[in-house]
Structures are given as C-alpha cells and as structure tokens.
Symmetry: C2
Subunit: 311 residues, 2 copies
C-alpha cells in the first residue's frame, strides 16, 4: 500500500495546499493534522513548526519535507527521528519574493526613505545628500540560494555587494567572504547589512553588539531570516547610540511581535509581519512532489539537510 | 579670444559646479549669474530654469546646455533665441539614480508597503495577499534613456514591463507601445504606471482623469518626470473613488510643494522633494565639457534638442 503524507503547518492552511497536492499527485493520500489516522500509514511529513514529538510518533516516516527554506523549526524538536532525511524547500518563486523584499528595503535605506517619509508627515521639503548605488556597500550574510539571488539583483542596480558564508563559496560575479576573519572584513565594509542566514547554533544571535560595533558608523541592518539571529537589546542600544541608524525587521523572536514591544513604535525600525517570502503552494507543490518521486525512485535528493550543520 | 560660459541655476549652487568645470577645462572662463560682465563675451550658457529673456540678452550665444535631462525649463522662455542649439544632459549617473528611485517606488507599491507601514503605526500584525513581480504589470510612459534603464532594471526583478512613446521605438528585450492607440493599450495592462516623459505641449496633463479611467481598478501611479504631467484634481478624485489606490510623486506644479497642499497629508500619496535624480557635478561636468569640445571642433552634438518636438 502506498504511504500517506501528513500535512502540518502552524501558519498555513490545508485549504491552500491539499488541492494542489491532490491535483498533481492523485495517488498520494494527504492527511491533515490532527487527523493523522493510523500513524503507521504516514510515510511523508510536510511540516512547518511541527509539535515536538509529532515526527517521532510516526513509526514508518521515511522523509520530512519542510514547508520553508529554513529547517530550524524542525531541528529544534528534541525528539526528532535522526534516521529520517529532511529536505528544505527551495522554490525559485519564494527566492524571487525574498529578493524583492531585500531590494525594496536596501533601496529604502539607501535613498533615505525613512527620513523623507518623516519629512512628509511634517510638511518639510528638503533635499538630503544622496550618493548612487555604485558608491554604497551592501553586505549579505548568507551565500545560499537567497543570498545569491538578492546579491545578483542588488548588483544589477549597481550596489557594491559582498556575501558572507561560514565556509568558502564561489558564484559567478559575486564577491565572497568566509569564516570568522571574513565576517569581520565584510562587516567593516558594509553600510547596509542584510541577514539571509539559516538559523543554527552558530548563527543564533549573530546580529549582536559585537557585530554592530564592526559596522561603519550610521550603518543599517535588514533581517529577513529568523528573529533569533538578532539580539534585540543590542539593536536598540546601537540605534540609541546612533552607531546603527535604522533597521528593517521581518522576523522576530516571538511572532506575532507582541503588542507593546519597543520595535513597533521605534522611529528608525520598520516592522513587517514575516512577509518577505511566503510559501506559494502553486509553485511549491510540484517541487515537493518531485522530491517525493525522487525518494521513491531512489534518485539523489536535492536540498537535503545536514542536521549536524543545521541547514 | 575664447568665449566664456555663463552658469545660471535656480536650484543648484556655483560652489558645486565651478571647481569641477575649472579643473577639467582650465581654459574656459566660467561666469556665474548675475555676474554676466559683458554679455558679448558669453558663448555658452549652462542653465536650469533661466530667467525669460536672459538667453536672448547674450548676443554671441552659440550653445545652450541644460543642467538636467529635461529642457521644458528652457523652452518655456518666450524670448528663446531659436537659432541657438540646445543640448540635454544625459548622464548615466543620473539615469541610474532615477532607476533607483523608480525601482524603489514600484517595489514599495507592489509589496503593499504603505499598508504595512500603516499597520505598524497601529501595531497590527497581518499578512496581506501578495503576488510576485512576474505577475505584476508595469507600464512606463517614456522610452528614452530613463525609461529604458528603469524598464531593464524592473525586468531584471521579474516585472512584466512595457514602455510607451509617442513614436515607434525599439530596444532589445523591451516591449514597446506607441502613439494614441498604443497608450490606450499600455494603460489597460498596467497595474503600476510610471511617468518618465519629457514635458511637452503633448504630454502636459497626460496623467489625467481620462488616463486614470483606462487603468485597471486599484492601479497605482508614480510621477518622477514633471509636475505639469499631472492634473492634480484628477488624481485626488481617482484616489477618492478608489480607482487609483496610491501615488508616489517627486515633482509638482509648484515646487516646493506649498504647505497646506492636500498631497502632503494624503494617506495614499508619497511626496518626495524632487530628489529622484539630482544632477551630479562630478559626473556631469565631463559630459558638458565634451559637448562644448564637440561643438568647437564641429563634430555632431549628442542629445541635441528638437525644439519643435520639445525634447
């Protein structure tokens, strides 16, 4: 008997996904949590932030599919069955959406948009000093599919872009820095820093006082990765001192961002509700089903996660 | 005796320009209005919005150089000496700055940024429906250096871009519409319209009720060209009806935008103080001096204006 797929997302609805999966792969039975039925039937789990222990409760689970590019929401499960392969979702549609977000925010900061919006609210007509993108350095933390696509698009607009990754990486036309010393060097040259890293034990809290101190004075920060990359108090302190002049945040330690949190009303922080790159069922479902077919046919899996590395 | 150049800008300062011109062409005497001296000495006029009659008062004027891409500020002079050639300033640095502005504003509107900023001010965490750039149509009015560069950069981000010009134009990889019927067709397909036209008798007031009515409901408008392209009351009416959902305006009939003007406080209008593409002396001065050398050596002038056409 063919095995069933269990769908479990804490943020997304069955209604958006089940029709897409059913249409593309009619032979695949899709069950939606909490309607697991007999746990022994479940061969595939398509999940976003599953309850700790849920995956371990499925005795015949063969493959875990993340509903997003990150897998920190899976790896944090203390009962994660370590023999089951995990695949990240890498969808060009989501990658493009992330780049739209990053380019919008980088341009906003580069073009002094927060100041101009504040001027408009005061009825002030005043031109501010402006340089061109070619004279503006952008540092991207992360050299994966997201970092490379955003890097290429920012370069296309003229920005002086460099990317950083833990281990040495190369990609045509992109300047890369690697490792601890590379991070220092990248930060020193970056007027605008964009975080697109996976969340791992090594990257948690990377946007900290220590990192901010290495940026040139007046630098700005964009976090579109995970809330736990940022040490919130360190950002508030860096903004208060003026060393960091503004930040754009799409992700937070607690989401939704709690009411009364100082980020909501901060004049130099832009808050968006985790919307940089939403999963898109019509483009993601074929990629997910291709992964299942590859697995069933014994072909190599793409974007398989190394749990030790964390991505 | 070599002829002198008269510098006259109503918005820009001698201090930014004279050192650049002197350094690059030490043999050229630069005089700054109102210090004209003997009007018979002036062979070249480098101007932004010169007083009507000023150019006609220079009996030996050989060449008029605009300090900007547009020349409406020169052609509106009723005493303009029609035998003197006029050259527009086409500076890749300014073109790139304009594209930065256009891409920022298109992305802002595409990504519902005005709504998200309003939500932040209310402490509201709510994800809005979002499509990708590939699913968003952008229509650019203008197929010159500015329109083409912005069009290419928006295409690079995935947008479904088309450009419109009065007469048929072609450029690699860009979809073009022309003439009256072409304008209708372009408007019907454009969720986002960007005006980058020269201001001429034909284009004045082109952003009117008639134009807005042809856009799909909820369309948005960006004007980075000239204030007189827009019929202000028609925009306010289209916003009030919801047919146009937002506008970004960098230029206005009266600049600075008068205090108390309804645009300042409109929740769906972004006002910026004519900052999309400021002239940049360090890159423009060599282009201006090259024009003078071409003229003196009898070589063909680049970007020469046809006064009958208006650009």
């Amino acid at each position: 008997m063919a095995m069933a797929l269990l769908f479990r997302s804490s943020v997304d609805s069955e209604a958006r996904w089940k029709p897409q999966l059913n249409q593309l792969m009619p032979g695949l039975e899709v069950r939606v949590w909490p309607g697991v039925g007999d746990p022994a039937d479940i061969g595939y789990a398509l999940v976003w932030r599953p309850e700790p222990g849920l995956l371990a409760s499925l005795p015949n689970l063969k493959l875990i599919l993340s509903l997003g590019a990150g897998v920190d929401h899976i790896l944090c499960d203390p009962h994660l069955p370590h023999h089951v392969p995990i695949v990240r979702l890498v969808d060009p549609y989501m990658t493009a959406a992330m780049s739209e977000y990053v380019v919008l925010q980088v341009l906003r900061l580069h073009r002094h948009d927060l100041d101009y919006r504040a001027q408009q609210s005061e009825g002030i007509w005043r031109e501010l000093e402006q340089k061109n993108a070619t004279e503006r350095s952008v540092g991207i933390l992360g050299f994966g599919a997201l970092g490379q696509d955003a890097g290429r698009k920012l370069k296309g607009l003229g920005f002086d872009v460099a990317l950083w990754s833990r281990s040495e990486k190369r990609a045509d036309g992109l300047l890369g820095y690697a490792g601890g010393a590379g991070l220092e060097a990248l930060l020193r040259r970056s007027e605008i820093v964009v975080c697109l890293l996976p969340l791992t034990a090594e990257t948690e809290g990377i946007l900290s006082r220590r990192t901010f101190a290495r940026l040139p004075r007046g630098a700005v920060v964009v976090n579109a990765a995970r809330g736990r990359h940022l040490v919130e108090q360190d950002l508030l302190a860096a903004l208060a001192s003026g060393h960091v002049s503004a930040a754009v945040l799409d992700v937070f330690r607690d989401e939704p961002l709690p009411s009364g949190h100082p980020f909501w009303r901060h004049p130099h922080i832009v808050v968006t509700p985790h919307i940089a790159a939403a999963t898109n069922p019509s483009t993601a479902a074929p990629i997910i089903l291709d992964t299942i077919r590859r697995f069933e046919e014994g072909r190599p899996l793409l974007n398989r996660v190394d749990p030790a590395r964390g991505y």
